[in-house]
């Protein structure tokens, strides 16, 4: 496939970015408005907890889809959405943790610490969240410049965060032996991570083979 280029700062690109931004923010509006207008069902806190968790995973999948997309379509502009979607992943994770911290635990420190220690699915989820903080903190241009090569190394943490997030969801669902939704996310992330391994392996193979 032939690589095409677009005017990087053009109006087309700006409106496309704005559209992605609005779409990514829409679930957050629903998250706040549904409980306010009594549309979130019998258990609004459960609704907000689950919805914010779901959208964290969706954003994570979308973020990780961009570099394989660049490779598969040959269109490099995909990657320019990565920071925004990555930060949206963090944004929904913050809402998810905040719901637990505030609406579920009411900042009861003892209860929270007990939850983190006693319950493996919360332990794993919390670790995944903590690992996301340095990634969000180093997402600025200045930090990218300052960290140089180490920036890339640091951001490989996402390959640890993604499986932890899946494990968190899987353990949460294990009580009902209901793995239908978890396995969808696991499969998508599996493909996205698998593609990276495949691409790397191919690159290495082609680097070692004699050129024709």
């Amino acid at each position: 496939m032939r690589a095409r280029s677009h005017p990087t700062g053009g109006a087309w690109w700006r409106s496309a970015r704005a559209l992605v931004f609005v779409c990514a923010l829409a679930p957050a509006l629903r998250l706040v408005l549904w409980p306010v207008f009594d549309l979130a069902g019998a258990n609004p806190v459960e609704f907000v907890t689950r919805s914010s968790g779901t959208w964290t995973l969706v954003m994570l999948c979308l973020t990780l889809a961009l570099s394989p997309l660049r490779r598969l379509t040959g269109w490099s502009e995909w990657i320019r959405l990565r920071r925004m979607l990555g930060l949206f992943t963090f944004f929904y994770a913050v809402l998810h943790v905040l719901t637990w911290l505030w609406l579920d635990q009411w900042f009861d420190l003892v209860g929270m610490v007990r939850d983190i220690i006693d319950r493996p699915f919360i332990t794993v989820g919390f670790v995944a969240f903590l690992l996301m903080i340095p990634l969000a903190a180093t997402s600025t241009d200045a930090m990218i410049r300052r960290l140089g090569r180490r920036w890339g190394q640091l951001h490989r943490l996402i390959y640890l965060i993604a499986p932890l997030a899946i494990l968190h969801y899987l353990w949460h669902k294990s009580g009902k032996n209901d793995y239908a939704e978890v396995s969808i996310y696991a499969a998508v992330l599996g493909v996205l991570l698998g593609l990276r391994v495949l691409f790397r392996w191919r690159r290495r193979a082609s680097a070692h083979s004699p050129r024709s």
Partner: protein, 341 residues
């Protein structure tokens, strides 16, 4: 046979409700009587009511109307209010009938209300077998006439950490047990829920082993609070709530209250329930509501009352035996309830 019923069948009022609320209700009953009887008698009734609430004065008071749902098509069920009811505010009919765990119709809360219309509730029978004088079958119409129907407003605490207050209609399970004539070796009861893939789409998923089975010890089953339930909110049970006949055991987590019963087995040994097979570390045979024993994946110390503890409200503390300790604690005397979960 080991049938032990609490010595005090009369509930301890202060245990169920606050004393103030209790007397407020007495006063309300009394003032209703007064209103009907005229002002001449009101002084004496009011004077007597708060100090000495005895059975006679309650019997003399006009029966409180039983609570009605807001589905005009529902088939009504007559009942009389029970003294075993809590006076806590009942959860709205809407939430009681739309936020349901009934895995035979799917594991999401809104699956049962969406799919339970496929359940055929007539004809319906409950088979009784095992350690009984003779195996027999009770027809649903027979059950509806078996004993006087009472409205029992009970707290319902789900193991997932939420609770409701539901006006059930039914009669003590002991009425059925007596008619089943259990033999001396009957120590436990096993309850079996319908499992028909044609009516129940949830059976396709291997969440737990179907049919859904639950169990009680004989003394638990004979306890006056244990209700064989045929209705709620003044009507026959909606399908998603376990129509046409289910169990309600208010001091245990909700899953112990089996729905859509088709069989009751009397056994000499403790049965292994569906949940015990599925997650033995998470769900024990007793599963009494106990704020001191956490579920492996969440704390049981507090609960969210559906419809009341809304978006910006703290959870309320969970009570031992769901607040029915005065009536049922004696069933478990000498047992370590952190071990017998």
């Amino acid at each position: 046979m080991l049938i032990r019923i609490s010595d005090t069948t009369e509930p301890n009022g202060s245990e169920i409700t606050s004393e103030r609320a209790y007397f407020n209700r007495r006063r309300w009953l009394a003032s209703t009587v007064a209103g009907l009887a005229g002002s001449a008698t009101s002084a004496s009734v009011l004077g007597a009511a708060p100090g000495a609430p005895d059975a006679k004065s309650v019997a003399a008071a006009p029966a409180r109307k039983i609570l009605q749902g807001d589905d005009p098509k529902a088939q009504r069920l007559a009942a009389t209010p029970s003294e075993l009811s809590t006076i806590e505010r009942p959860t709205s009919y809407k939430w009681v009938t739309t936020y349901n765990n009934f895995y035979e119709f799917g594991t999401d809360k809104d699956d049962p209300p969406r799919h339970a219309h496929r359940l055929r509730v007539r004809p319906w029978t409950i088979e009784v077998e095992g350690a009984v004088a003779r195996s027999r079958t009770f027809d649903i119409e027979e059950l509806l006439r078996m004993a006087p129907l009472e409205e029992r407003i009970y707290r319902m605490r789900c193991v997932e950490g939420w609770s409701m207050v539901i006006p059930w209609i039914g009669f003590p399970l002991s009425e059925l047990i007596r008619r089943a004539e259990p033999t001396g070796s009957a120590k436990y009861l096993e309850f079996i829920t319908l499992a028909d893939p044609k009516q129940m789409p949830g059976l396709r998923s291997p969440v737990i082993e179907w049919p859904y089975t639950e169990g009680l010890r004989m003394d638990e089953a004979m306890h006056p609070l244990t209700l064989l339930t045929l209705g709620l909110y003044g009507q026959v049970l909606p399908n998603q709530n376990g129509a046409p006949v289910r169990l309600v055991v208010p001091w245990k987590y909700g899953f112990k209250s089996s729905k859509s019963l088709v069989k009751i087995r009397f056994l000499d040994k403790q049965p292994v329930t569906s949940w015990m097979k599925s997650s033995p570390t998470e769900y024990g045979f007793y599963s009494n509501v106990n704020p001191g024993v956490d579920h492996p994946r969440w704390s049981q110390a507090s609960e969210r009352r559906i419809g009341e503890d809304g978006f910006m409200a703290r959870k309320r503390p969970t009570l031992m035996f769901n607040g029915y300790g005065a009536q049922v604690a004696s069933l478990y005397s000498g047992m370590d309830l952190t071990r017998f979960i």
